[in-house]
């Protein structure tokens, strides 16, 4: 029981950290000046919200299977496949939760507007310096929102992890998959314990999100 919780938390934590790092430059670029093809990229990064998890899982499985061109590139490094591995699960979770990281961070960058970065530039800050000392701290609420959403969304995923992870105990079996298997084998008592935990956690995550959203007294500019 504790093994499956640990796998789930490790997956959610790792996905959150890696995805925030990946989503930040994407969100920064999307928050820049308007161009129609920017919205094409925005649509692609938002696609996982509306795609059925089975569709996403299917294509991810193909992408990380031994014969895929992507894995072909990794063969020289001794990697043949990521299907049914924990690493594959992390990649799948990142794709699945990408919009939940990009959207809040993009929104925070857009709410900030170009002025603080211009101010920093006239005060001799290089663009990189200004990004870390101005844009990141001013957008911290967007990052907190993204982190909570991604973590909670990863805990809540089922279809994608089942398809690309296969539910191998101790390796790729997460809470949502375990609950499904417990219910299938009519072990309702155990299923209840896990399910109630997920409900309590999800409620706490949502409450945290709403509390972050309430802090409007702190003007962004």
């Amino acid at each position: 029981m504790s093994e499956v919780v640990w796998t789930t938390l490790r997956l959610a934590g790792l996905t959150t950290v890696l995805l925030l790092i990946l989503a930040t430059p994407i969100a920064w670029w999307l928050a820049g000046r308007r161009a129609w093809w920017r919205e094409v990229v925005a649509a692609v990064t938002t696609l996982p919200i509306i795609l059925p998890p089975s569709v996403l899982g299917f294509y991810l499985l193909i992408a990380i299977a031994p014969q895929s061109p992507l894995m072909g590139l990794l063969h020289p490094f001794g990697l043949r496949t990521l299907a049914f591995t924990f690493q594959g699960l992390v990649i799948g979770s990142m794709v699945y939760s990408l919009p939940f990281a990009v959207q809040p961070i993009r929104g925070a960058f857009e709410a900030m507007g170009p002025r603080p970065m211009e101010v920093a530039a006239t005060l001799r800050a290089t663009p990189i310096d200004a990004f870390f000392t101005i844009a990141l701290p001013l957008s911290r609420r967007g990052f907190a929102t993204a982190a909570i959403l991604v973590f909670a969304h990863t805990i809540g995923e089922f279809g994608v992890v089942l398809m690309i992870g296969g539910g191998i105990p101790g390796k790729t079996e997460v809470i949502s998959v375990r609950i499904y298997q417990l219910v299938e084998s009519l072990q309702y008592g155990q299923a209840h314990r896990l399910a109630a935990g997920v409900v309590a956690f999800s409620f706490a995550a949502l409450l945290a999100l709403l509390l972050i959203g309430r802090q409007t007294d702190e003007a962004v500019l």
């Binding site: 006239t122 001799r124 800050a125």
Partner: protein, 244 residues
Amino acid sequence: MNGVVGRFSGALGGFRLDAEFALEPTGVTALSGPSGSGKTTLLRCIAGLTRLKGGLRVAGAVWQDEQTFLPPHRRAVGVVFQDASLLAHLSVRANLNYGAKRTSAKADIGFDDTVELLGLGPLLTRSTLNLSGGERQRVALGRALLSQPRLLLMDEPLSSLDAASKAEILPYLDRLHRALAIPALYISHDDAEIARLADRVLVMEAGRVHPAKAVKRDALSALSSRERDGLALAALQAGLRPLS
């Protein structure tokens, strides 16, 4: 040549800028003209925030020519924006120090002197969130000065202030005007403000700059219209008759 010489030309959206100007090595030059005449665009070009074709030399250094375009962070320019634009996540002191920490220039303008000149002492440890409009502009001005600029640009720093805040900040701008050893460009379309704070005036019209004129100063021009009305009333009450 110690002053500023610049020319910029190019189109931005539907607007065309074709500006040539020069600033003396010291003193405040007002940049006046109707809204939409390109004052802010010219200021942004000088700061490097907007890029148009042209050239710019400040105190002997080339900031822009055919081959060169220094990005804003490599220009020794101090900018005071219309809305102060203080950095909301930093205290007043950290706002003042943001540019100071990042400049390699010799500190001609000292922290304590600036705090004293602009009366910032009581504000230093405060957050920027509950300052008055006048206080915000004084912090923005101090922050720009402490980055050790060779040129100070101010974009209508008083326009968003109410009459009381204006009255509060004007004496500080007077003192700054007397103490400042670098050229300053001050956008305004308030004649009383210009007469009080500027030595010369450049007038812009439809993206072009007319040659500089000295600001005419007489006893009344530096007063606001309200102060003039007050004086006229006092004169009438004292028994003087208006000239017919």
